[in-house]
């Protein structure tokens, strides 16, 4: 009985995949290597041949630092050259090297207008042969995101969009729908506590806000290591909780 049902379901899934038109071009996924995150994503990781959006939270909506480093860590784990399109050249490359992205692999395309960034991204995605295409943009209209998504699907190149706004209030734009496959928000959290005074390994709140054929989730992770990998933070979500726990233990 169950075997028959499984067969029917798998047949239906196959037919749906055929209707979606990209069954033959599935180009695999890039796993995070963290079981909890990978299970939340259909296919077990970030799909190649798709657009993924990243934005910062709080002040990060303007500087986009955590989002950019998270994207750099993902790009570092792909294979091949990386095209990084931007309008504001304030990226400090030594930090990206610390996330495992070698400077020889990254080609920057600096444009004066947002529109040109999207054009370069589309060109890079449809070229094929690149490991990843990264773009830093303010606005990502539906039409533009669909064009990027289609270009990425065609060649199997991963497209990573870092959204950063001019002002923090403009970040409500992140609620607007786009054609991207996943949408993430990376917010900074207080760093891990060290036994001595000092700044420990940075931690992020990684929110999976939208994923096609999947459910939203959020994770507290430790920021990219030297190979671009993130790890789940074993500690509680924020230090306030931790302090509380410590206090209660004293009282007990």
């Amino acid at each position: 009985m169950t075997a028959a049902r499984d067969r029917v379901i798998s047949d239906l899934k196959h037919r749906i995949a055929l209707l979606e038109g990209n069954a033959g071009k599935r180009s695999g996924c890039l796993a995070f290597g963290v079981a909890e995150i990978d299970t939340a994503l259909p296919g077990g990781g970030l799909a190649h041949g798709a657009i993924h959006e990243f934005a910062g939270g709080g002040a990060g909506t303007v500087d986009g630092a955590a989002a950019a480093l998270c994207v750099a860590g993902i790009a570092a784990r792909t294979r091949g050259q990386v095209l990084w399109c931007l309008t504001r050249p304030d990226l400090f490359f030594p930090a990206l090297v610390q996330a495992g992205l070698h400077p020889d692999r990254v080609i920057f395309a600096e444009a004066d207008r947002e529109q040109d960034v999207l054009e370069s991204m589309e060109e890079g995605l449809s070229y094929g042969g690149l490991g990843a295409v990264v773009g830093e943009v303010v606005r990502l209209p539906m039409v533009a995101s669909r064009r990027l998504q289609l270009a990425a699907e065609k060649t199997g190149t991963m497209g990573l969009v870092v959204r950063r706004w001019r002002r923090q209030v403009e970040a409500s734009d992140f609620g607007q729908p786009t054609a991207s496959t996943t949408r993430w928000r990376v917010s900074v959290l207080p760093s891990e506590e060290l036994p001595v005074p000092g700044v420990g390994r940075p931690r992020w709140l990684l929110e999976l806000m939208r994923v096609k054929a999947g459910e939203c989730a959020e994770f507290v992770v430790r920021a990219c290591d030297a190979t671009g990998r993130i790890h789940l933070s074993p500690g509680p979500a924020d230090r306030a909780d931790q302090a509380h726990g410590w206090e209660s233990r004293i009282i007990a």
Binding site: A65, A72, G80, P94, E110, Y127
Partner: protein, 486 residues
């Protein structure tokens, strides 16, 4: 040869042209001009005016040959349409080609610098019309001038009549009549001038203001690879242009293959029926002979072609070529094939965007530790050797912040940046960076102490104190925010 050996740079130098028994000054160096010698002055008068003047016979043939060499060099570097302009200049139409040099301003300063590196002086002007550029370059004292679109009148009105490219006898007669500048002449009714001097003045005035088209007849080196196609009926539709561009690219690639060459610069030259020429230049990051690649570069910009009344001839010229041999591709069985992305870089670069890679520079000062290089430059394999974390975003210039900190080497307790006060919960530092006294003497004592500070919400900033906290000679002891961590 003997005469040249005696020349000394300390004494003024002039060249002398002769015609029959008449000898006059053809060119004078800066010292001679300072002593009052003008071009065109009789040689005997100059000799009488300045003692110790050195004379060299002018060689117009050699001058013309050298000027042509410069024009051919400019053809390969700057623009598809280059011609020799008179006896003392060259003219180029750089529309559609300046993006390869990073824009008009960079192109002009680049030209001047290249001449300067060879010990020559050059004056360069870019304007809407040949006449205006000619006049401003010769009469304006500055080295580079950009005449904005539609502002020719403002730039040329105060220039002398001699820069109008008129025969010298007409200029002399106009001077007699009291005309001094182009502006005065433009404001005079045309009919009496034409009656007296013929149509020449009106034509030159129209040309300088861009009212009359003045096509440049471009020079062509003898051995250049060129394919062209003439049309019995003028064409104009974008699809038709695209079609013939594709065919021309195929023909060019065939010609290149026979000679084992690849192109670095290719020009598409559009001859219109009204005898005007438009050119589109495409540059590639490395020698190319691939039909699809080159076609894409031109097709990207065929909408920029203005057919006007129709195009009667299209030609494709390989201006700059380099040897391109066949190479064996790595077998995918043994090693992973690395995709060649030069075509992609060319497409983006030809759209006027800046395409580059970043390489490390051996410098402790953060803003000097990165440099841009060409995207297709050899891979260096070098990376920064860092023991301390670096911020993801580096502010273009450090921003002044207010802090409360215990001197000399405690991290701040609170930081106020962009009007927001943050209480520091964790901090690391100091990381001391010394000024580079071996390159700049002003940084002999300079010190920066960098701290990583984290506020209660988890935002991490890279801040520094200018100075070591004890000695004011090392810095102002003010605090700055320099970067944002992830």
């Amino acid at each position: 040869m003997d005469g040249r050996a005696e020349l000394s740079p300390e004494r003024p130098l002039v060249t002398v042209a002769r015609s029959g028994s008449k000898r006059w000054i053809a060119a004078a160096d800066a010292k001679a001009r300072k002593a009052g010698i003008r071009v065109g002055m009789p040689a005997a008068k100059a000799q009488a005016m300045v003692s110790g003047l050195q004379f060299v016979d002018a060689d117009p043939m050699a001058d013309a040959a050298a000027l042509e060499r410069i024009a051919l060099w400019a053809l390969a570097h700057y623009s598809p349409i280059v011609a020799v302009d008179g006896t003392d200049g060259i003219v180029m139409d750089t529309e559609g080609a300046d993006h390869l040099q990073g824009g008009e301003e960079l192109m002009l300063s680049g030209i001047v610098n290249r001449f300067h590196a060879r010990g020559l002086t050059a004056r360069v002007t870019i304007a809407d019309s040949w006449g205006a550029a000619h006049a401003v370059a010769r009469a304006d004292g500055r080295k580079t001038v950009i005449v904005p679109k539609g502002e020719i009148a403002r730039f040329v009105e105060h220039l002398p009549l001699s820069s109008l490219r008129l025969p010298s006898d007409i200029v002399a007669s106009l001077r007699t009549l009291g005309f001094r500048t182009i502006g005065e002449l433009s404001a005079t009714p045309r009919a009496p001038l034409t009656l007296r001097f013929g149509p020449e003045i009106g034509r030159r005035l129209d040309e300088i203001h861009g009212r009359l088209a003045e096509p440049i007849d471009p020079i062509r080196p003898a051995d250049v690879i060129e394919v062209s196609r003439s049309f019995a009926e003028p064409i104009g539709a974008p699809e038709t242009i695209d079609k013939y561009v594709t065919r021309l690219v195929a023909a060019l690639c065939q010609a290149l293959e026979r000679q084992g060459l690849g192109v670095r610069r290719t020009d598409l030259i559009v001859h219109r029926v009204d005898n005007s020429i438009q050119a589109i230049r495409a540059g590639t990051a490395k020698p190319a002979r691939d039909i699809a690649w080159l076609t894409k570069l031109f097709r990207d910009r065929t909408e920029k072609i203005e057919p006007g009344f129709g195009i009667e001839k299209l030609s494709l010229v390989a201006v700059m070529t380099e040897p391109l041999g066949e190479t064996q591709k790595a077998s995918s069985l043994i090693e992973e094939e690395v995709a060649d992305i030069a075509p992609l870089i060319d497409i983006i670069g030809n759209r006027g965007q800046r395409v580059y890679r970043i390489v490390p520079v051996a410098s402790d000062v953060p803003e000097r530790s990165v440099a841009r290089i060409a995207a297709m430059a050899e891979k260096t394999g070098a990376a920064w050797t860092l023991h301390w974390p670096r911020p993801v975003r580096l502010l273009a210039r450090p921003e002044l912040i207010e802090v409360i900190a215990l001197l000399p080497d405690h991290p701040p307790v609170s930081v106020t940046w962009r009007g927001k006060r943050r209480r520091v919960s964790q901090a690391d530092g100091p990381e001391r960076i010394f000024g580079e006294w071996w390159t700049r003497s002003s940084e002999f004592d300079a010190v920066r102490d960098y701290f990583v500070v984290e506020d209660e919400s988890g935002e991490r900033l890279w801040i520094f104190r200018s100075g070591d906290g004890v000695d004011l000679a090392t810095g102002s002891h003010r605090w700055f925010c320099h970067g944002i961590f992830a």
